[in-house]
């Protein structure tokens, strides 16, 4: 199917992350510098070693709190001299920066690519409560190729679309609110051991079931929590990676496929783009789902975590509710530790790269109180609906 697996030429060599807060009294650029300088130092590199910058989605020329800093702003601020840089919303979801950066390295454009993601939605919500909840922001009539099919019906937030997936999953597979709630519970339990997490107080199933319904069957506690944060990852060509202080974490396989329309309602409602992503990723490696030691799966909304579990073959299709029920399998000491830093539900909506940061933290044994059993293979996936990407990481 694939005659060259480019990502095997690339490894993660350093990670960094700013404080994660709700909100923080630091500018978006300061947060970005906090994360990026930490990641560069962690990789044993200096600024002058960085010759590429990647981001998703980047600054869409509007300074929006969803992504206030892109490569353009960072390059000059940090004084980088790059051979390649890139960002943009259209691509395989929040991991697109990792995938694009790896492509730049494998194609010979760069040796060390700085990938970052900054978000300041918590600050923005101090002045505009709907700032990050609403999908369409066009003035006047809806001119968007995609949102015009939803906005007129008052589908004004992504949760309405996610709720349609959840309701269908409940209907087809008998998934229950109690099973879905386990994602929130597991994340909270892990967050309680993560000093950076936004929500750390204990959460019970009764608390979950008592939280108000936003768009049935999804509740407030099915939604991730806004934050201010920046996360950075250094990607290096594998030969250069061996010089660094950390054991390289190789990109064993990536998934970026979309074999369905880019649409929130024309795709398979219970498998979404995640199915295509998962099939592609496993077609690029000899490893199998059973080899995965920990999983960091997108939980912008809890239902998406269930969808990713199935799409990545970590449990059979339709079985994710029963797989997570009770939380034993996905606990830190279970067969598949999940979202070990509290995910976005309790850890904070770092939006994509936070999962990569946590996967590396665990692979390198830096998890502190929340450290899970030593393992060599981790999977990260991010996105919902038509947005999706994944990466399988291996520490040899």
């Amino acid at each position: 199917m694939f005659d060259r697996i480019f990502e095997k030429d690339v490894a993660i060599t350093g990670i960094g992350q700013s404080e994660v807060g709700r909100p923080l009294a630091r500018s978006a650029m300061q947060l970005t510098l906090d994360a990026c300088t930490e990641a560069i130092r962690d990789a044993g590199l200096s600024r002058d070693d960085i010759d590429g910058v990647a981001c998703w989605p980047g600054d869409n020329n509007n300074g929006d709190a969803f992504s206030p800093v892109g490569p353009n702003a960072l390059i000059g601020t940090l004084g980088l001299k790059v051979n390649w840089y890139g960002a943009g919303y259209e691509g395989p979801g929040p991991l697109a920066g990792i995938i694009n950066g790896a492509m730049a390295i494998a194609s010979g454009l760069c040796r060390h690519v700085l990938v970052f993601r900054t978000i300041t939605e918590a600050s923005r919500r101090q002045t505009d409560k709907t700032a990050s909840a609403l999908t369409n922001k066009t003035i006047g009539r809806d001119t968007s190729f995609f949102w015009q099919w939803y906005t007129p019906f008052n589908v004004l937030s992504a949760i309405n679309l996610m709720a349609l997936y959840a309701q269908r999953h409940f209907h087809e597979y008998g998934t229950s609110s109690e099973q879905l709630g386990q994602i929130a519970l597991t994340c909270r339990e892990n967050a309680s051991l993560n000093p950076k997490a936004i929500y750390r107080s204990p959460l019970t199933l009764d608390d979950y079931l008592a939280s108000r319904v936003i768009s049935s069957p999804l509740r407030l506690l099915d939604c991730d929590v806004h934050c201010d944060a920046s996360t950075a990852i250094v990607l290096s060509r594998v030969d250069a990676a061996r010089d660094g202080p950390n054991p390289p974490i190789r990109l064993e396989a990536i998934g970026s496929a979309l074999h369905q329309p880019w649409s929130w309602d024309q795709i398979d409602l219970t498998a979404t783009a995640a199915r295509d992503v998962g099939e592609m990723m496993w077609a690029r490696t000899d490893l199998k789902p059973k080899d995965v030691g920990a999983a960091q799966l997108y939980d912008g909304f809890s239902i998406l975590t269930l969808i990713w579990l199935e799409a990545l073959g970590l449990c059979p299709r339709g079985e994710s509710g029963r797989f997570v029920e009770g939380g034993h399998r996905i606990a830190r000491n279970g067969e598949l530790p999940l979202n070990t830093n509290g995910g976005q539900l309790s850890g904070g909506r770092t939006h994509g790269l936070g999962y990569v940061h946590e996967a590396c933290t665990q692979l390198w044994g830096r998890g502190g109180e929340r450290q899970v059993a030593a393992h060599q293979v981790a999977v990260v996936a991010a996105g919902g609906g038509p947005l999706g990407g994944s990466v399988l990481l291996v520490k040899d």
Binding site: Q148, A163, A166, S216
Partner: protein, 132 residues
């Protein structure tokens, strides 16, 4: 219920304005004889450009739904139903809309529905009601 309306163009106007004549118009490919949505100048299956809007029955079933309970705007305080309707003409032919005219909590997956247009300016929104 107040609505933000779509900007009309030559690709989408049949869908949004068919209700003026009481018709739900869905794009149809004359080459592979399949409907498709959203409307476009080309068939996404066979890439034929022999496509045009065609009247459908306006009947279908609820494929999935959600009751929105969050007032995204102050004038959206009442719960409302967002649903995906699969049209009777073809499996997989579907779009997002609202189910109206009944208590939100009484909507179910599989429920038969038919179109009911709601005019806003020059747009006729295809909403759906329970089939009697």
């Amino acid at each position: 219920m107040p609505r933000k309306l779509p900007a009309l163009n030559t690709d989408n106007s049949a869908f949004w304005q068919g209700g003026a004549e009481g018709h739900l118009l869905i794009h149809h490919c004359e080459s592979c004889r399949q409907y498709f949505h959203p409307p476009a100048p080309i068939c996404p299956r066979c890439n034929s450009q022999r496509v045009s809007p065609k009247v459908v029955s306006g009947k279908g079933t609820v494929l999935s739904y959600t009751v929105n309970q969050q007032a995204w705007r102050p004038d959206l305080a009442e719960p409302y139903v967002v649903a995906i309707i699969e049209l009777a003409e073809q499996r997989g032919l579907r779009f997002v809309t609202n189910v109206v005219g009944q208590a939100p909590e009484s909507v179910e997956i599989g429920m038969p529905v038919r179109v009911r247009f709601e005019r806003h300016e020059d747009v006729w929104l295809p909403l759906f009601v329970r089939e009697a």
